[in-house]
Symmetry: C2
Subunit: 215 residues, 2 copies
């Protein structure tokens, strides 16, 4: 019974890690679509989001079966509940990547990001996607969970995001109000994406140690 539980839990963990891989790929493509004004790539990201939704549903079914058939307790129960929590965070990360892609689609045939901000948005997208990639590693091997490491990176994301907001709202901003508001929302999608990876990592840490790390 316990061996079977651990086999099923390992399968559930792999399902989650694959969701995380999809979210990483979606955010990288969405960022490229935004910076290069690639509407075809944006449409692909938008279409692919349904796959993450289905993957979340499958994770939830797997977790529910595990709970119903194996009635885990203590650490095992925490691991299954953490998987459920993470599945919803990962699905949300997919939504946010889709929002980034939709920003590219709505701006087309124009490019939204002014040349002088391309570097900062590229950096924001790269850091957020890298955080999710590290999260996938921790999902596959929860003993190596790096919540503290992701939280520190998230502070860099917040600083970059705050810097972008200052630039966008400065008196000498030359690209108009519509661009500014779209860029403010775009920045927020990245910042929220990064936040979700931290929340998921905090839970993984909790599942392993039994203690929720301080925020």
């Amino acid at each position: 019974m316990r061996a079977e539980f651990h086999t099923q839990l390992a399968e559930l963990r792999e399902q989650l890690a694959e969701m995380c891989d999809l979210a990483v790929a979606a955010l990288r493509s969405a960022g490229k679509a935004v910076l290069q004004g690639d509407v075809e790539l944006a449409r692909q990201v938008l279409a692919a989001d349904a796959e993450l939704d289905r993957a979340r549903d499958r994770c939830e079914e797997s977790a529910q079966q595990l709970l119903a058939l194996q009635a885990p307790v203590a650490r095992d129960l925490r691991l299954v509940l953490t998987a459920l929590y993470c599945a919803n965070k990962l699905e949300r990360m997919g939504d946010l990547a889709a929002h980034v892609a939709d920003t590219a689609r709505l701006a087309y045939p124009d490019r939204l990001v002014p040349a002088e901000l391309e570097g900062e948005f590229a950096e924001l997208g790269r850091i957020a996607a890298d955080m999710a990639q590290r999260l996938a590693g921790f999902i596959r091997d929860p003993e190596r969970c790096c919540f503290a490491e992701l939280e520190e990176t998230d502070r860099a994301v917040d600083a970059l995001h705050a810097d972008l907001m200052r630039t966008i709202t400065a008196d000498h901003w030359a690209h108009g109000v519509a661009t500014a508001t779209s860029l403010a929302l775009l920045g927020r999608y990245y910042e929220r994406f990064a936040d979700q990876t931290v929340s998921a990592a905090r839970r993984l840490d909790f599942a392993v140690t039994g203690e929720i790390p301080a925020a």
Copy 2:
């Protein structure tokens, strides 16, 4: 055992409903703080958010105990997992209300919302808070779940939000870029708050019927 389960489930449901009441109160106060430039009220909302975080933790502990001690299956299991899902949505609703309050705090001593948009923001806040209030009713009595009703109201929120975005980004916008970006984010907080109520109601519907309603 089953009677005990249902007593504990009813307690968990009441904990959730109280979380929802807190989120409603937080959003109403935050909206008032923003429209009236009331920084003291904004600070109260920001301080009160920690209470919702603690309430979420308590709900999670209750749900985990229920799972560990009672090992529910089928509909009972769905009800407990739904409670866990809703606890996290309600905590997020509290965060969004806090973001609204923080918008008022950051604008102080100015008022952020221009006179001609006060009516629309008041309406957006009122509808979103009313949706959460209806959600509290459904949490208390899940047989009466009104997912379809909330989803329809959410379409009105989306339309109002889209209308606001058009106004803010119009060529003849007279209030500057910084105000426009803050208002775009403010609109998004309300829209996301309303979305969370729909997601929670969808899950309650699922818990009762065993089928996830179409999005």
